[in-house]
């Protein structure tokens, strides 16, 4: 038993918090290098970001954790567990759980760019979890580096003592040893009772087609070992552990994981839905009394239709969604039909980025060209006959006469900005139908503004507008607070006289005319001219509120002298045809993908 306590004292669990491009992945690689975790020959840039998409976008979607043996300057052998975090508000809950699995965090700030918005939200999460935060000023070898200014900024903006901040360059390997020494010295070893019943925190899971679900977790109390019967406390499901291990970064099978350790278990689990992030794993025969705090079921908040461009891809699309769902408990989907787009699926996501990621993965990994409709939220329709229906698709909205009133989801949004932008942010929130709740100065420079906002407005373009109107300095977080009554109407869009269900949207009555007009103007720009004239109309019920006309193409024929260069002529036609492939034929009008998303990106200013 002493052994376990001794081991516990040598563990350091930490994660890295950084803004995109500030060098998180490179730093992680260097740490892996210098602890000898990866061999020279298998070095691959950004080891932790495994998915192609992650590497490309510089964001983490699936979490990883790595166990690194480290001999410190004090001559002792430590076990460092580096737990990766996703970096976007859509995944705020996942971030909070992976931070909960740590005792410390490296706050990486670019020496030239200083503290940026995205970092802040995560730093505050880390502070909420009582993590020891170690500032690291990265890229100090850049000519434009200003480490002293950035140190000051960390102190002023984040409110952390930055006097011991390591000056590093992950790219050139400067400061890495110092960082590791600080981790050993300053991050506290994990608490937890080795003799108590097992409690382990799930911070991610991954579906493997051979082993079933691989659960990434951190043991808080007790021990987990092979053969043990375990129970997921929130989902109340029981499994038998078949494998226990850790990533080094290669998976290594261990006898057990005990207090403070981070690793994975395999237990013939068929579905990631049984291994919810934030849930507590306990011993089924000797269960803990209380689960770990902070579990919450994450529900999709944003919905959109996903349709194959080529209707013969429908079954492939279903399979793709099935496969993605295996690995992503927060993705939901069900079949739906659109008169304009044919057979497809209504999918639910955590947020807009999550939605974009899934769309890109369908197109890239499964190679299925898709059309997506503008995102929507769940509306509650109180009908005159006393019944209530919930709709997540604008086309399902009943006729006006049948509606008594409509409720829509609201969120409480916290927006942190430098005080120069207070006016701008309040104006934006006001424009987005927000109700002012509170405003607090965090220090002389930073303000936290709290508003209640309709989720639909957030889904619409709030985040983009917030970013652009505050030059990227705002950080933003939100939580659902329930439903409120709103004057909402359904806006239909007619192309060539036919209503296109996939373009319908629900909008506040006061904004309907304006948004309808802007949308038809936008569609006019996005829909290429056809061989005939195409009227575009926006209508509420039978009333047309806006109209534009796309004039017909007059002529489309190569009448150029090409000599004998047939290939070039062919390529030109191929290119024209390729452009058409990305379009969906609605009625007889060719409509590009962007048009279906246009509803979302109306710049109202």
């Amino acid at each position: 038993m002493m052994d376990k306590r001794k081991k516990q004292a040598m563990i350091r669990n930490f994660s890295i918090i950084a803004h995109i491009d500030h060098g998180k992945s490179t730093l992680a690689d260097r740490i892996l290098d210098s602890t000898g975790a990866i061999q020279e020959r298998e070095k691959q840039e950004q080891f932790l970001d495994k998915m192609e998409l992650e590497r490309e976008r510089g964001i983490t979607i699936k979490l990883q954790s790595v166990r690194l043996p480290y001999r410190a300057k004090d001559g002792q052998e430590y076990i460092l567990n580096l737990i990766d975090t996703p970096g976007h508000v859509d995944f705020a809950y996942e971030v909070s759980r992976s931070l909960q699995a740590c005792e410390g965090a490296l706050l990486v700030v670019d020496a030239a760019q200083g503290v940026e918005a995205q970092t802040l939200a995560n730093v505050y999460l880390a502070m909420e979890n009582d993590l020891e935060i170690l500032p690291v000023i990265n890229k100090i070898d850049l000519p434009s580096a200003e480490p002293e200014r950035v140190k000051q900024e960390i102190e002023d903006v984040v409110g952390l003592d930055a006097s011991d901040a390591v000056l590093a360059s992950a790219k050139s390997g400067i400061g890495i040893d110092e960082i590791l020494e600080q981790v050993v010295e300053m991050v506290p070893p994990p608490d937890g009772d080795p003799d108590a019943p097992l409690r382990a925190l799930i911070f991610d899971s991954l579906y493997d087609s051979y082993k079933g679900v691989i659960v990434y977790m951190r043991v808080v109390d007790g021990t987990v070992k092979k053969g043990m019967k375990i129970r997921m406390m929130a989902t109340d499901t029981t499994f038998e552990v078949t494998e226990v291990g850790a990533y080094t970064p290669h998976p290594v099978i261990l006898d057990e994981l005990s207090v403070g350790e981070v690793g994975f278990i395999v237990a013939s689990i068929k579905n990631v839905r049984d291994t919810r992030v934030g849930d507590t794993i306990t011993d089924a025969l000797n269960p803990a009394k209380e689960p770990l705090p902070g579990y919450r079921k994450v529900n999709p908040m944003v919905f959109c239709g996903v349709y194959p461009v080529d209707s013969s891809d429908y079954e492939d699309l279903r399979e793709a969604l099935e496969k993605l769902e295996l690995n992503d408990a927060s993705l939901s989907y069900e079949a739906e039909t659109s008169t304009a787009l044919g057979f497809g699926f209504r999918c639910g996501f955590l947020g807009l980025l999550h939605m974009e990621i899934i769309q890109e993965r369908i197109e890239r990994e499964f190679n299925i060209p898709i059309i997506t409709t503008a995102p929507s939220v769940i509306y509650k329709i109180f009908q005159t006959d006393g019944t209530v229906i919930e709709i997540e698709n604008p086309t399902l909205m009943p006729e006006t006469q049948k509606i008594d009133h409509v409720e829509e989801p609201y969120v409480k949004a916290s927006i942190m900005v430098p005080n120069d932008f207070v006016g701008t942010v309040m104006e934006l929130c006001q424009n987005k139908r927000g109700n002012y709740v509170d405003m607090k100065y965090l220090d002389e420079n930073r303000v936290n503004i709290v508003y209640e906002l309709p989720l639909a407005e957030i889904v619409y373009d709030f985040f983009d507008q917030l970013k652009s109107s505050t030059k990227g300095y705002a950080s933003f977080d939100y939580e659902l607070i329930g439903y409120q009554t709103s004057h909402l109407v359904k806006m239909d869009i007619l192309l060539n006289g036919e209503s296109v269900d996939a373009l319908s949207f629900i909008v506040h009555r006061d904004r309907a005319y304006h948004r309808g007009r802007i949308l038809v103007e936008k569609l006019k720009k996005l829909i290429p001219r056809q061989m005939f004239e195409v009227p575009i109309q926006a209508a509420i019920g039978h009333k047309i509120v806006a109209r534009e006309t796309i004039s017909a193409i007059r002529k489309n024929v190569l009448a150029k002298c090409y000599g004998g260069d047939i290939s070039r002529k062919r390529k030109l036609l191929e290119k024209q045809k390729e452009g058409k492939k990305r379009m969906k034929s609605v009625g007889n009008v060719e409509v590009p993908q962007e048009a279906f998303m246009a509803v979302l990106q109306i710049d109202e200013n």
Binding site: M531, R554, V557, L558, A559, C561, G564, I566, L573, K577
Partner: protein, 387 residues
């Protein structure tokens, strides 16, 4: 089947036109004689590799082939006669010419060397427009050159015209057509300006300094050309080509019927079934390659049957006569209706194509939206095969 048509590229010009993206270089200081030597050697190499059939069309294009001196021209023509001796009695032997470059002396050499058709790069009769597009000739040059060619005994003269030029109006186009008629050409090609990358026009367009006519005006010009020329007794046999009866260009028809042709000279394209090839661009590189006893090929590929069939449709339908089902069957051993069943019936139902006896042809609407029709056949067969 042995090629029965020859394209020979002369890449020299007095000056490069603002819209031109062909392989063409200002002639001053160019090794023209070395080029002609290389060209003759290429004729030798290629005819050794693939012997010619009875030649029905030769086309010397450019560039401006008429920038050659009479001596150089004589030498070129003798080379051609030497390597392509077996010629049809009805051979069409064309040279492209720039108005103002055809001296009576040069015309005599051309005639003597076997040329029987001149295609003048007129483009427009309006002097201001000619300057605008970088041509070196003027209205008077055109008239004089055509008259001199007639006097030298050329009985088949074609004029190349362009529409959709910067600042060109429908009225300008009409004036050009009226002027052209005064010269009684036997054939007219009328091309629309397309701004290509790497040209001065492209550069100007990027800077928004190229005042092109509107699409509506361009469309009107095209319709004007068609109705005007038909009234004047020409018949439109291809999207951009008009001829008096019996004067359809044999060489152009080689392209539209997707038949083999040699392509000789720098930057030339050739099609020696089943191979399509493109020669090296650059006069010096071309000469060097040939001096090293190598065919000067920059790129070549063997055309798959599916591609050949698709190209047959893409090219054949440009002809107003369309394609013959019988010819298709004889050439490929399939029924065109079967291979392109869906495509053809859709295009017919939508009013782009019509069937008449053995032939499938563009309707008026199909002509105007030709790219839609041609594009329908492109890439289709791959898909069928994979299924």
């Amino acid at each position: 089947m042995r090629p029965r048509a020859v394209y020979i590229h002369i890449p020299f010009c007095t000056q490069k036109c603002h819209y031109c993206d062909f392989t063409a270089y200002v002639v001053d200081g160019q090794p023209v004689d070395d080029y002609l030597t290389a060209l003759e050697k290429e004729m030798k190499m290629i005819t050794k590799e693939v012997p010619p059939g009875q030649i029905e069309a030769i086309f010397i294009g450019g560039g401006t082939p008429t920038v050659l001196t009479p001596t150089q021209m004589e030498r070129l023509l003798m080379g051609i006669q030497k390597h392509f001796p077996e010629q049809s009695p009805s051979i069409e032997f064309t040279i492209e010419a720039n108005p103002g470059t055809t001296t009576p002396e040069l015309l005599t050499v051309m005639k003597k060397g076997g040329i029987n058709r001149i295609s003048f790069g007129v483009q427009t009769f309006r002097n201001t427009l000619l300057r605008e597009i970088g041509r070196i000739h003027d209205n008077a040059d055109i008239k004089r050159s055509v008259q001199q060619a007639r006097q030298a005994g050329f009985q088949n003269i074609s004029l190349d015209l362009m529409f959709g030029l910067p600042q060109q109006t429908v009225a300008d186009m009409e004036e050009t057509l009226i002027e052209a008629m005064k010269l009684s050409p036997d054939h007219i090609s009328c091309y629309s300006l397309k701004v290509e990358e790497g040209t001065l026009f492209h550069h100007l367009q990027e800077r928004k300094e190229l005042p092109l006519p509107s699409e509506e005006e361009e469309f009107e010009m095209y319709q004007l050309v068609r109705s005007f020329l038909v009234q004047q007794g020409y018949h439109q046999y291809e999207v951009s080509n008009f001829a008096k009866p019996g004067y359809e260009s044999t060489h152009n028809l080689t392209y539209w019927k997707n038949e083999s042709y040699y392509g000789l000279g720098t930057g030339a394209h050739g099609y020696v079934k089943p191979t399509r090839y493109m020669n090296i661009k650059g006069v010096k590189e071309y000469i060097r390659q040939i001096e090293g006893e190598q065919r000067p090929i920059a790129d070549q590929f063997s055309e798959r049957l599916e591609e050949e069939i698709e190209n047959f449709m893409m090219l054949g339908l440009r002809l107003l006569d369309g394609i013959s089902k019988q010819t298709f069957y004889e050439r490929f051993g399939f029924d065109v209706d079967q291979i392109f069943q869906a495509e053809i019936s859709d295009l017919i139902n939508q009013g782009f194509l019509y069937l008449e006896g053995d032939r499938i042809s563009l309707t008026e609407k199909g002509l105007i939206f030709g790219n839609h029709v041609f594009g329908t056949f492109i890439g289709t067969l791959d898909k069928i095969e994979h299924k």
